[in-house]
């Protein structure tokens, strides 16, 4: 059977290889044992999905199994801390993302890692815009409708959770409209989308991957997309900028390891990930979930993470001051 065979291979590898590595002496070839890829979210979410989409081709290229390990908790900081404290030998990596490395460090305050200093950032995997969607029965089709109704009676807007980038977009939009939007946080995008489709909440700010199917099927209307330009898969959905609101934001997912990861390992990983992201099958999969593959060198990715921390930190502090 397929899986017993595969598991046996993993097991055999994990038992035999440390011994071999030690026998080779000071500079064992990397990777010398299975690689743990820590996903700081529960299985099934977008983060988990991205990790598994990349892990499968990557393990073939590296010749060692990659074990995706879900370590959710505390806004993705539990799993990230684990990797920050792991030995920098390239056998423990983390799926860094906007929550773990840009929002939560400010949101939670007492996080025991620094999103920049404690990690070697390797590659950006994918970027997803956010999208405002509305229940079709509300008649909201664009931001002008939204602004008008909001001025009249004040609107409710759902999100997948407090402190998510989607929530922060709601706060930002409320600021631009000059009246706070009543934010209704849910536990995950699924329940929030149910409430919007069911008409319990008129609007939602969602990441494109989880909203894509519902927009395509017309069960919700896409009001505005937070990308800089129109999304190739959704050419009919206007951006915030087009509609006169200066909002450009993306949630992102990348690959990182503990700080001081040896340069050759970082380069090798960046190179392999690059070829995977360039391949047609990966492009297709990412396009289906509404994301575009990221193409950054390790330095560019590290600079990107730094810029994101600088971008989201102040917004978080703004919202964190008054919890809702």
């Amino acid at each position: 059977m397929v899986q017993t065979w595969r598991r046996r291979a993993i097991l055999g590898g994990s038992l035999a290889l440390p011994v071999l590595a030690r026998a080779q002496g000071a500079a064992p070839a990397w990777p010398s044992q299975p690689i743990r890829l820590v996903v700081p979210f529960a299985p099934g979410g977008t983060t988990d999905l991205v990790a598994r989409l990349v892990a499968t081709p990557l393990q073939e290229k590296l010749g060692q199994p990659i074990i995706v390990e879900n370590r959710p908790g505390a806004g993705a900081t539990v799993g990230s801390l684990l990797v920050a404290q792991a030995p920098p030998d390239g056998h423990t990596l983390v799926l860094s993302n906007i929550a773990s490395h840009a929002i939560s460090p400010t949101l939670y305050g007492n996080i025991r890692y620094d999103p920049l200093r404690d990690f070697s950032h390797i590659a950006l995997l994918t970027l997803n815009p956010s999208v405002f969607v509305a229940n079709p029965r509300t008649g909201i089709a664009n931001l002008a409708d939204l602004a008008r109704l909001h001025r009249q009676r004040g609107l409710d807007m759902a999100s997948s959770g407090s402190g998510s980038s989607n929530h922060l977009l709601i706060v930002k939009m409320g600021g631009l409209l000059g009246r706070e939007i009543n934010h209704i946080p849910f536990r995950g995008a699924g329940p929030a989308m149910t409430a919007v489709i069911g008409g319990q909440v008129p609007l939602m700010s969602d990441s494109l991957p989880s909203a894509a199917a519902h927009i395509r099927q017309g069960s919700v209307t896409a009001v505005a997309m937070s990308s800089a330009e129109r999304h190739p898969s959704f050419p009919n959905v206007p951006t915030f900028r087009e509609q006169g609101y200066d909002v450009v934001a993306s949630s992102w997912f990348g690959l990182s390891g503990p700080a001081n990861l040896p340069r050759p390992i970082v380069d090798r990983l960046a190179r392999e990930v690059g070829t995977i992201l360039d391949s047609d099958s990966t492009r297709m999969r990412f396009a289906e979930i509404g994301g575009s593959p990221g193409r950054f060198s390790p330095e560019e990715y590290a600079a990107f993470v730094a810029s994101e921390v600088a971008l989201w930190g102040p917004l978080v502090r703004e919202t964190g001051a008054r919890p809702d």
């Binding site: 099934g44 539990v78 409710d156 809702d324």
Partner: protein
């Protein structure tokens, strides 16, 4: 109707192919195995097996994953009945009467009831999913936060019926469970509550450490302290199969359980977890054997097991018709589908008829296979009880420990289990019952979430709970149940006062 039959036939055509059939069987087997093992749930297993499904056709992959899901429901009741180990919320209820039946030497009958009841409920619920899935979705969509809150409140109130002793103490345990559920990150503000700065608590206390500690391991200690009670466990095996009398008593319970479970399973906001004990409450109030509750009443196994399995099937409705997962297992399945290049959503029925109808047909086939696998195994399971207890208990401990550790690969959970073992032991000595506590623990966080959301939406107006018809009905039933429960106590008190 004709369309339905032709669709179902199409589905069976898909499901009956050799590959799909063997993967449904494989999934059901894996599911049963992990259901039997404490701590290792379907979520962990499915996420472990997800990479394998990449190589399979989408329909086959989803059929196998679904098999794991309902196989785990079957397996979970086995350990609940035999060893008082509830691996999942739904099996907490099964321990109440099922484990008592096992101690009376009726383990075989309890297991058979669970298997037959589940199969029947699964069959009915599958037809329901096929025939009126889209319509039922509308019911689910009409539930707003206020309605969910009232439903949860009703759930908590009827949870007190789970207790055998004092009602006030049971209510106290429910509330204590709700209090335990408060530990962790506040969903709405991200603030840490009652975590004492421990990062592992930021997602709340785990269900499995509480269940393993308070039920499984505490039970071991109590059994070891009373050597006389466990000899009963290992010597009396009794007749394996159901007696005619038992069959007659179980049948109406299964029917009622199926109805309750099918309805609650549709609601994505935690309805499925209410199914089993909603049915237990019902049986305790209306069944013919209600006076036997607490001593191993077969109705208390038949109803909840049927309800649980019916809910497991109907909880696929939001996934299949809206593309929205109603629990963590479903979320994983959405992930599997997306990796396969299929976007689950309202159009899935038309766009992927093979997948939709194939899955429905395979649900029923999977249930049938589970029945065929499980019935002959009952004899083997019951034999397990004849293993001398001094060998059995270290084995249970070992499985509990590894299961608890593997939840998060963290020893923290192991020590939490120790803490709850002691707590469960103390509760037993004080005659405080753990089942209501666990229900409160599970429902409490959902209740808070819905309450706060309802208030956000109503802009602070409490009257929303009586203005919405669904919510008002739930609250009415809750009030009625409360009065019904309080009456005997008050009457008893009066009689006592009169006697003196």
């Amino acid at each position: 109707m004709e369309l339905l039959i032709s669709n179902l036939l199409h589905g069976f055509g898909v499901a009956i192919s050799f590959q799909n059939l063997s993967f449904a069987l494989l999934g059901a087997l894996i599911g049963t195995a992990i259901g039997v093992l404490p701590g290792i749930g379907p979520v962990a297993t499915i996420s472990l097996l997800l990479p394998i499904t990449f190589g399979l056709p989408a329909t086959t992959a989803i059929i196998m994953l679904a098999g794991i899901y309902y196989g785990a429901q079957y397996g979970g009741s086995t350990t609940a009945i035999l060893l008082n180990l509830p691996g999942e919320v739904s099996s907490v209820v099964t321990t109440l009467e099922g484990y008592k039946m096992a101690r009376n030497g009726r383990a075989g009958a309890a297991l058979a009831t669970a298997a037959l009841g589940s199969f029947f409920a699964g069959t009915v619920a599958t037809i329901l999913v096929a025939a009126s899935g889209p319509m039922l979705t509308q019911v689910a969509l009409s539930f707003g936060p206020a309605d969910y809150f009232s439903l949860m409140l009703l759930g908590l109130i009827i949870a007190c019926v789970l207790a055998q002793g004092s009602i006030v103490k049971a209510v106290g345990m429910v509330v204590l469970g709700v209090a335990l559920g408060l530990v962790g990150t506040d969903v709405q503000t991200g603030q840490q509550r009652f975590t004492f700065g421990i990062p592992e608590l930021s997602d709340g206390i785990g269900f499995v450490p509480i269940a393993m500690g308070m039920f499984g391991i505490a039970e071991i200690i109590l059994n070891l302290e009373r050597p006389e009670s466990r000899s009963v466990l290992s010597t009396k095996v009794g007749q394996l199969w159901l007696t005619k009398e038992e069959f007659k008593r179980a049948t109406p319970s299964v029917l009622r359980g199926t109805v309750v479970g099918s309805f609650l399973g549709i609601l994505p906001g935690g309805g499925a977890s209410l199914a089993a004990f909603g049915s237990y409450m019902m049986e305790r109030k209306v069944s013919r054997g209600k006076h036997l509750f607490g001593q191993g009443a077969i109705e208390g196994v038949a109803g909840p097991e049927a309800a649980n399995n019916a809910a497991a099937q109907t909880s696929f409705i939001p996934l299949l018709t809206l593309g929205i997962p109603s629990n963590a297992v479903m979320a994983l399945m959405v992930g599997a589908l997306i990796i396969q290049g299929i976007q689950p959503g309202p159009r899935m029925v038309e766009a992927q008829p093979d997948l939709f109808w194939g899955l429905i047909a395979s649900m029923w086939l999977g249930n049938l296979m589970l029945l065929v696998i499980n019935l002959p195994m009952i004899g083997m399971w019951v034999k397990l009880l004849q293993v001398p207890y001094r060998f059995l208990y270290p084995s249970i401990l070992v499985f509990c420990c590894i299961g608890v550790y593997s939840l998060n690969n963290n020893v923290f959970d192991v020590y939490m289990t120790v803490l709850f073992t002691v707590f469960g032991y103390v509760c037993n000595k004080l005659k405080m019952e753990p089942a209501p506590l666990l229900i409160g623990f599970v429902l409490g966080p959902m209740m808070e979430e819905h309450l706060r959301r309802a208030m956000l939406l109503s802009r602070g107006d409490w009257s929303v709970f009586i203005q919405r018809p669904i919510s008002a009905t739930m609250l009415g039933i809750a009030a009625f149940a409360l009065i019904l429960m309080a009456l005997p106590t008050i009457r008893k008190g009066k009689e006592k006062a009169m006697a003196e």
